[in-house]
Symmetry: C2
Subunit: 410 residues, 2 copies
DNA sequence: AATCATTTGAAAGAGAGGAACACAAACTCC
DNA sequence: GGAGTTTGTGTTCCTCTCTTTCAAATGATT
């Protein structure tokens, strides 16, 4: 409510905003009838009609026959986002894999691909080259003719949104690496490329297409070796002043605890990362995903040691989450990554800590649930990020009206 | 950038938004020249001219002679918010005092008053009656003739914004008290009354009129017996799903630490509240503000015990702040309340902990500074809150144009 | 005193959405 | 199975609001 709605609106702005509202609704909700659009935007039929016409001309949407839903009255024709009218390229640099996808307007994944990344540190140039290879493959297979409107890149590290400068990426062994520069070179495209943190993009995907649909205030926790977070505040991803927000893994929860790879002690991820789980389960902490899967299986078959390890992880999860809940008062907490599968085993102790440590008023509003999109969430989020300019100003992607109009009159 | 700008715009909406933009600019920046307004809103001179005319007719702003600034060209006339054109009543229920103020458009405090509150728990009815008394006093003295457009109430507790239901207010000994109902009865006004947490309102005031002007991402920490927080995210106060956000005092920072009055252990306020300071300074923890002042004086004159007490408080302040910084990536951290005076003595250890525990990328952007508005900050914030409806839709407070127009044509 | 840069004022113009009307298509009821 | 009801479409005209344009005003500059 209190905000910075400062700038003035002009006729041109109005049309842009209205086109944007329609395209956004279609992208987020899929096909909608015209009357549904009238209801959702608050515009009149006449206005919707004119705007839809423009979008159909611009090939961003298609208008199909009415869908009969059994209600009386003349059926309203169905407006669909055209997945081939505008596509984006989504790329992901994850801990141990690279991903690429071509996603069409409306969110349809036209093609996707994922390859394993050899463990250990990787050179930026190699990664960029691999991504470019993936990109041309998915683009060629699925949608070579479709108009590309943007590229979104999710990176497992702290990255600057504007130019893709990676400040730190411990999992890749990177510090101050110019990923953006390399990628711009090898991709050779002139559409905008936007970068963001993997956890943030996963949260965005869950918000738009997954378990957090419709919620305004959400905390998403991604657990693996490290712990990442994606925060949704007031319907928007929390970015902070430079886009470094949501780094929940290094919240101090146990100030005199174990040393963290960040140099501090007792960060949240020292207690809820997979190393801590393995240690508590009596295994070498540096065991990889296979070891974690083993502990998961043991817990599933009732092993007391494994269950206790998860219970303790759940306790610390709850401690950290209580802080986040008190600070952010969210509606929903999503547990993703390794925690998606571990959820049943951490649940009890987690909730118990929340009961104890979260303020009652906030506590009673909270639901803690696992994520639903699985491993591709960050990729889908990167696609959403890449669509953003189109959704904000669809007119820029329609045929340049003013130019032809002036030409006609001249 | 990514958000929910969904609803359509209509001519009526546009005018409202433009009037709003102008009034908001004037309220936040004080008098501006017409050409300055043109630059800030992006509208044309003609549009500005018409809108200003309407606002002058509605007596929300006045237009004065040009201010000659020595630049060539015809001087631009100055547009001023009229402090008497619209006023709000701001009320505050603080830990040990009640406050009231009448504030005019543009932020001028026309009159204010504060009375001490006897320690211990107070009945809601008594507080409401006292506030009503204060209100009629300040209203009568300062601005009896001015049009009241809203009432804002800052409460030291968890309060629901819409109806003033106080969920908990430990400092007042309240649980589930219907403050809003009582206050509506005794104030006997028909303008909207809005409620909010004191810490949030203090942060809003610092954002608009104090040390955080112009910043978009801010964390404000209010330290006294308890610790409260006001968070600004992306230029807006963080509210959360029910307005309970920002309760930083109960972030777990030392899970096996001292019991907190909330029932948990090792909440942030058990380490940085005044009780902890007094304990560390070798005094009884329940000593009041006088005892804290005494420790402050001792620290000022170099007492090692007092300085060590502050240093330890600073260490824990830094630990908790590091978590908030990692999560929120703010530009600015403001220390208010008791911490404003204590700032010089906590600074060193606080910054050291940040160096150790905050992520470098976020750390290097941060500035930690004391607040500047002092004790009246929440009161000023409540005034801003009360102004919000007017700033969002100034047209509603102008003379009802449509009605008279229809009358004329009929 | 002439020139220049900038702003004001007023009237005409253009863009965009709103309102009202006739018509169409489906469901419901008798 | 036909009349009535409901909901939605297409079209035209209207209104609202901002922009454009041109002449006049004002103060600094030279």
């Amino acid at each position: 409510m209190i905000g910075r709605e400062d700038l003035g609106h002009r006729s041109e702005t109005v049309r842009r905003a209205n086109l944007s509202a329609i395209v956004r609704q279609l992208h987020l909700n899929g096909a909608l009838s015209r009357s549904e659009l009238v209801a959702r935007t608050g515009l009149t039929r006449s206005a919707i009609r004119a705007l839809i016409g423009e979008l159909v001309d611009g090939e961003l949407v298609t208008e199909g026959p009415a869908a009969l839903d059994g209600s009386p009255g003349r059926p309203s024709s169905l407006v669909c986002p055209d997945p081939h009218g505008a596509v984006v390229l989504a790329l992901e640099i994850a801990v141990d894999s690279l991903g690429a996808a071509v996603v069409g307007l409306g969110g349809e994944v036209l093609d996707s691909l994922r390859i394993d990344l050899p463990p250990g540190r990787s050179r930026v140039d190699d990664i960029a080259a691999s991504l470019a290879g993936l990109a041309s493959t998915v683009r060629g297979r699925g949608a070579a003719e479709d108009e590309l409107v943007g590229v979104g890149v999710a990176v497992v590290g702290v990255v600057r949104r504007s130019d893709g400068m990676v400040s730190t990426a411990p999992n890749l062994g990177w510090r101050d690496e110019p990923l953006g520069d390399r990628l711009t070179e090898v991709l050779g495209t002139d559409v905008p490329i936007t970068y963001a943190n993997e956890a943030d993009m996963g949260a965005l995907a869950e918000l738009r297409r997954g378990a957090a649909r419709g919620a305004d205030d959400v905390v998403v926790i991604w657990g693996s070796v490290g712990v990442g977070g994606g925060l949704i505040v007031d319907g928007r991803p929390l970015r902070g002043v430079a886009g470094y927000g949501g780094e929940v893994g290094h919240i101090p929860v146990n100030p005199d605890g174990l040393p963290c790879r960040c140099g501090s002690n007792g960060c949240w991820e020292t207690e809820v990362g997979t190393s801590a789980l393995l240690r508590r389960a009596g295994r070498p902490p540096e065991g990889g995903p296979e070891a974690v899967d083993a502990v998961l299986r043991e817990a599933g078959s009732g092993s007391p040691v494994a269950l206790a390890a998860f219970a303790e992880t759940g306790r610390w999860l709850g401690i950290g989450l209580a802080g986040l809940i008190n600070v952010l008062n969210p509606r929903l907490v999503l547990l993703g990554g390794r925690l998606e599968a571990g959820y049943p085993f951490v649940r009890a102790t987690l909730e118990a800590e929340l009961d104890r440590r979260a303020l009652p008023a906030s506590r009673q509003l909270i639901r803690v649930v696992p994520t639903t999109l699985g491993i591709d969430a960050p990729l889908l989020g990167a696609a959403e990020l890449a669509f953003e300019p189109l959704l904000t100003d669809p007119a820029a992607w329609l045929r340049p009206r003013t130019a032809t109009a002036e030409l006609a009159t001249a």
